[in-house]
């Protein structure tokens, strides 16, 4: 029976942190590539370049685990305004 959820939550956050780390590394590798378009006669890619590409691929897979971003605003009628009517304050 689960009496203290904190160790389980800690394990889960390590996994999340690991996935976040992968996504961050993928962003760093993309930044290394720069914004310039590829040349017409590109240099040959060696194993090191493919190793960096795998980081991007794994980072995209990790980002895909998040799914579509959840909308924090619950559906329903809009909340009433908190502004008091001017006449009441006078």
């Amino acid at each position: 029976m689960l009496t203290d959820p904190r160790p389980t939550l800690a394990k889960g956050s390590e996994l999340v942190n690991g996935l976040l780390g992968l996504v961050g590394l993928a962003g760093t590798v993309r930044a290394l590539a720069g914004d310039d378009p590829p040349r017409e006669s590109p240099a040959s890619a060696d194993d090191f370049v493919h190793l960096l590409l795998s980081v991007v691929s794994l980072g995209e897979a990790a980002a895909g685990c998040a799914g579509p971003a959840a909308d924090p605003t619950p559906p329903g009628p809009p909340a009433p305004s908190r502004e008091p009517p001017d006449g009441w304050l006078r």
């Binding site: 590539a33 720069g34 590829p38 590109p42 060696d46 090191f48 370049v49 493919h50 795998s54 991007v56």
Partner: protein, 154 residues
Amino acid sequence: MTAPSPETVLAMLAELDRVRALLVELVEQHAPQLLPTPPPDSPDAAAAHELLLGLRRAVFGNPAAARGLRDLLVAEGRRYAATPDGARLRDQLAASEAVDNLRRIWETVSLNVLDGPAPPSGVPDAWAELLADAVTAHGLDDAVLARLHPQGFA
């Protein structure tokens, strides 16, 4: 003769890993030039030095696992390079000066021990050769050799 229990097998595996770690430590003691001391009076450089040294120890201490991981990542990278986005990124990375610098850092840290042929056990030949050179050359006195080397000869 009965087969050992799973607990016994696991205990043996744990003990083998402990022995492996002790042997790696022994090799490090006989090849101190592979683990240089950090630069003095520079906390930022010391932090970078510790990070790169940790990476070198991870590669040198676990050559088969490092080689296996590298092969897996390279295969995944080749698979991704077959996609349109991957091919475009591959060409950009191949032409990037920043990647050239990063490659130089990786080659310096790893001393290319993960490259080249590897037997079915997975430990690359380059790793064994480098450590053998580092350990056997430790006892040679360069001052003695320098006296034996005639002037004018390459």
